[in-house]
Symmetry: C2
Amino acid sequence: MTTRYADRMEGVKPSAIRQLLQYGADPNIISFGGGYPDASLFPASELQAIFTELLSGPGELSLQYTHSTGMPKLREQIAARMAADGVTTEQDNVLILQGSQQGLDLAARLLINPGDLVATEAPTFLGALIAFNPCQPEYLAIPMDEDGMMTEVLEQQLQAGRRIKLLYTVPDFHNPTGITLSLARRRHLIRLANQYDFIILEDSPYREVRYQGEKVATLKSMDSEGRVIYFGSFSKILAPGLRLGWSVASSEITEKLGLLKLAADTQCSTLNMAAVSLYLERHDLDAHIQVIKARYLAKKETMMSVLKSEFPADIRYTNPHGGLFTWLEFPESFDSEKFMLEYAVPQARVAWVPGATFFPTQQRKNFARFSYSTHSEEKTLQGMSALARLLKKHL
Amino acid sequence: MTTRYADRMEGVKPSAIRQLLQYGADPNIISFGGGYPDASLFPASELQAIFTELLSGPGELSLQYTHSTGMPKLREQIAARMAADGVTTEQDNVLILQGSQQGLDLAARLLINPGDLVATEAPTFLGALIAFNPCQPEYLAIPMDEDGMMTEVLEQQLQAGRRIKLLYTVPDFHNPTGITLSLARRRHLIRLANQYDFIILEDSPYREVRYQGEKVATLKSMDSEGRVIYFGSFSKILAPGLRLGWSVASSEITEKLGLLKLAADTQCSTLNMAAVSLYLERHDLDAHIQVIKARYLAKKETMMSVLKSEFPADIRYTNPHGGLFTWLEFPESFDSEKFMLEYAVPQARVAWVPGATFFPTQQRKNFARFSYSTHSEEKTLQGMSALARLLKKHL
């Protein structure tokens, strides 16, 4: 038989990088491709005590169904954390999600009709593109510089009559580039959203993992018209395997996202929500985040040291103040995927994510995303040095 | 500001029963409304030992990201359980889902274009309607009798030229009626699907909770053309708070559902998947299900005893051989929601789910869904007897 799929499936294709990501599972290859947090930082023993306690009773409160919008106590705790970060909000404006990825999927369904224009940074988070694609948007790719999305380019496009329905941004330690959107650009973006009537999805899973510099106010904190939907995540500050993230939005939008959440999967895991809530009650998450930051800073510095001292000078790279990634720019004619497959994997046993796939419209081949979070400093030095030697031979 | 939502949101409304379900949280009211499993049956102590063990290591295998399609070992274990139930399948045909509810959402997105015709039983599972509605289908409501969906009525509609894209059925202990689709009707349904080229969603979360009678072969086991997508769930046989279900489908469909799953929420909880996998390895789930069955049979008999001996004779009800629900039919002129709000809640302190909301097209008011799983036998007797007295006064 030939199945007649819905039209939206035309935008749902296996990712070009899926095959490349297999290198992450090969112990003979040092892959800087995956965006995995360092598993040694997960607070496993604290969580062990919490799960043990939660399951010592009859399970009515940990194994049964609960509210589709999320456990009320956890929503309240998240609202308090958001308030401490400058976003005044109520429990009712917080929705618990199956990771912030689910927020991107639900927000796309909330807002995007086929053909609607969605603005994103170029490059942008691949997970956002795959969440948006089934809703069949068109993309408006806004270039970036060292201050993030070039909002003046966005403004030119808007002035020229292009009407966007929503704008997606990763303002803090952007995936894949590691760049942070400047305060001035954030203010400009909010002004543009108010003037040209669009919604902003502020996706900030790395925000709390800032190990250098001062934090920049969230877009949500500048949002006076209910135009910003903020997405946060416990994946990088606790553990991704729990699959818990959240949204903060206006009451009206939260209500509608909640209806979509109920339809999508009823609710998140009761047990995992109860566990994170108890963790926040019993432990100092901010102190734990300090430990994470120190580790990632050391790991970043290790990668930076090789990039600075051993890589050919015509390869540019970002030096992020947080998050997991640096973004390499090779000379214009360099094809980073081709080089990886033909030389780096077979000769240096090193892999990464070629940059082309992160561009929503015109793909550019001379970029690469390197994650410094996964490996030990020793392995990072080993892999990056081997790659530096190989690049010097070829560039 | 006025948010410009996507057109699909016109079908996304708060459920009419949401307000009614609040009675479930009121300790002064005996609500037979919720479809909750009996929490005292959750294997909390076995799960406690398992979670404690899983979190005793560094968390690499329980708290990190894993495959978006699900933990391979768990997929294999589910494939083996499906094989024992007559469905020959491979690990690669099994996809782990955030409850079977997620399967309904993903399958709708896979298949339904706006305006496509979706056939369902009338009445049908409300969760399916809310999952399908954002894809904007039209519904073809097929009536039921004591053998389930009247497939001869479906055939007449097909012969008359109505073309359906997919058919949704809960063949075992149907929600809300508790009725099981007969073997002859199942065979007929498969013939019709092959002849008229449609996909069947076989949603069977209650299948393993059969406490009377012989099991009837799944539609999936009769599917020679890859037309059936089967959905199973651990919610009724282990615990719903873990949020784990699965699909079994052709390789092509599983591949595409997997892409939608990745886009929707990356993956299910690594920890919960690891826990259920270890439970299946260490414990005899079928022995546990025997305990569940014995309890639910006793609970059902309690409710049946009051329905039989104390309720007015012109109220009909189903006597299910499994699952959680019985379906009451009142005289044609009786409005079950009105009676509940005006009399049953204030005078007998009893609530249920009025039947109208379960009908995809023409809503009928003289029905009600009663769940016998939640309360103790004592409370069930108390609530049902109070209701019987009230009904006798009014009918």
